[in-house]
């Protein structure tokens, strides 16, 4: 007759998790003065808003942990937030077993699975927090970039109007974004 043992295993797992979320969209830019000039105007607008131009030619800015990357030549925008966290989980498990060695191995594997699930749950909770934070900031970022894009289009229209003749009057409606330029040709 086999003897039953009661064993207790303790385990600790430490995992470094990388969490990321983000979204992409495209700025609406009218091509009034040619692609090259539009790109230059957008770059300038982004520099004025605190962006820096990277080696890859894309404008970047990190604020409140949120990175905004704008490709001025295409109008593609990427907004992302990421975080790295080290999560440690500890636990113990006791089981009645017949074979001590085998029982310990099984219990240890079971405990590791349980702790990994806890790590995963905590990482997911962190990801949800990041998503909520990002979602809170995204409307403001989109409004700011839309304003910059509108300014680029308005400046481009002014430049184009100057090529046509003397500008007599410019009226801007900030609420609707309407722009009226009177030109004497």
């Amino acid at each position: 007759m086999s003897r039953a043992y009661r064993i207790r295993v303790s385990e600790s797992v430490t995992r470094t998790v990388h969490i990321e979320d983000g979204l992409s969209f495209r700025l609406e830019l009218l091509d009034v003065v040619g692609a090259e000039r539009t790109t230059a105007l957008l770059r300038q607008g982004l520099l004025d808003a605190g962006f820096e131009i990277g080696e890859d030619g894309r404008a970047r800015r990190t604020k409140d942990g949120i990175e905004v990357i704008v490709d001025a030549s295409t109008g593609e925008v990427e907004v992302r937030q990421d975080a790295e966290a080290t999560i440690t989980k500890e636990g113990s498990l006791s089981r009645a077993v017949v074979s001590r060695e085998r029982g310990e191995a099984v219990a240890k594997a079971e405990l590791e699975t349980k702790l990994d699930a806890q790590v995963h749950a905590e990482a997911e909770a962190l990801r949800v927090r990041i998503t909520a934070e990002l979602e809170r900031h995204v409307p403001g970022i989109q409004s700011e970039l839309n304003r910059i894009a509108n300014t680029v289009v308005a400046t481009a229209l002014e430049e184009r109007a100057r090529e046509l003749g003397d500008i007599e009057e410019i009226q801007r409606d900030e609420a609707t974004g309407e722009l009226l330029i009177r030109v004497r040709v």
Binding site: D21, R26, E28, R127, T131, E135, V138, Q142
Partner: protein, 343 residues
Amino acid sequence: MGDVAPTETRQVSVAVPGRDADVLDAVRAVLGPPSVHTARVALRPVLSPPAEPPSMGPTAMGLLQHTLRKGAVRALVVHGGWRVRPRIRDETVVRGRLWDVSPQLELRFSTASYRLCQFLRGASALTEPQTLGDELLYLLTADTLHRGGHSAAALSNSALVQLAFPETCALDFTPRWDTILSSEGLRIIEGIEDLLATRWAAMELGKAEPTTSAAVQQLSEHQRHVLTSFLDAVDREGCPQAATFLVDAAARFADRSPQQWLEGLPSTESLRDRTAAAAATAAMLGVYRRLHTTFDDLASVPFFEPNYDRAQAVLERWSVLGRSGFASLQHIADVLSSGQMHS
């Protein structure tokens, strides 16, 4: 489907074996009045087929043919045939109900339908629908299964099932629409327009119900695949009236705001996943731009052109959505694809 002469009603009792009665019950669930309870109970064995496929006796076979004959006509009447509508027949437009305009409509059922009936009670082998009658029975079966909470995937070799349940059509499969876009097929579509419109409206409105980004993205990709293929065929055959159910469906959701569209997605899902679901939905709605173009093309047909009446008949049906509705769909697609629906 001509005038029906008054007939004497008689109750006749016939006896069929229990297995045959089961098949007849299942077929009646498909062809009878819609009922979730009937769909659940009568079609339950589809999910757990018995080991031995049943066979049918001659009496039951006679009853089956009788049920198919009456049930198919009933389905075409209730799902769109009863409406008084302008209907295109060859070069002319005739206004009326389906049976007034197409009294000689013939429906044939091949062995594929018989196998489908057996499938409803356990036989696992289904063959490809051969006739319009088969297509119709496949569609009605898929609809009944769906209402009963079952998947219609097993019936995915039917073009009508793919059209009504695009999730059953694999993305690498090119559906064939030649049968249902034939002149007889177009009449069948007229008889099931309401069912198709309800399905397409339900699919879109369902995206606002509690769901997941992955489910919305997957459904939208299948919808887009089927819709693109179907509209390609409609353009090739020059039968825009076949796409009227899509316009009827769109009229039920075009007035929603882009923000309402995906409000069923959990806020705990990542923005990336939700944006991908929005983009897939936008791409699907973008296909409606083709119908808008067709609408404008039809509106520009001058009155002295021979196809003027046909163009006006389609425009009359599509006016339920109209230019403003098409513009609204475009706006929704633009906002959803811009990734700016959070503003």
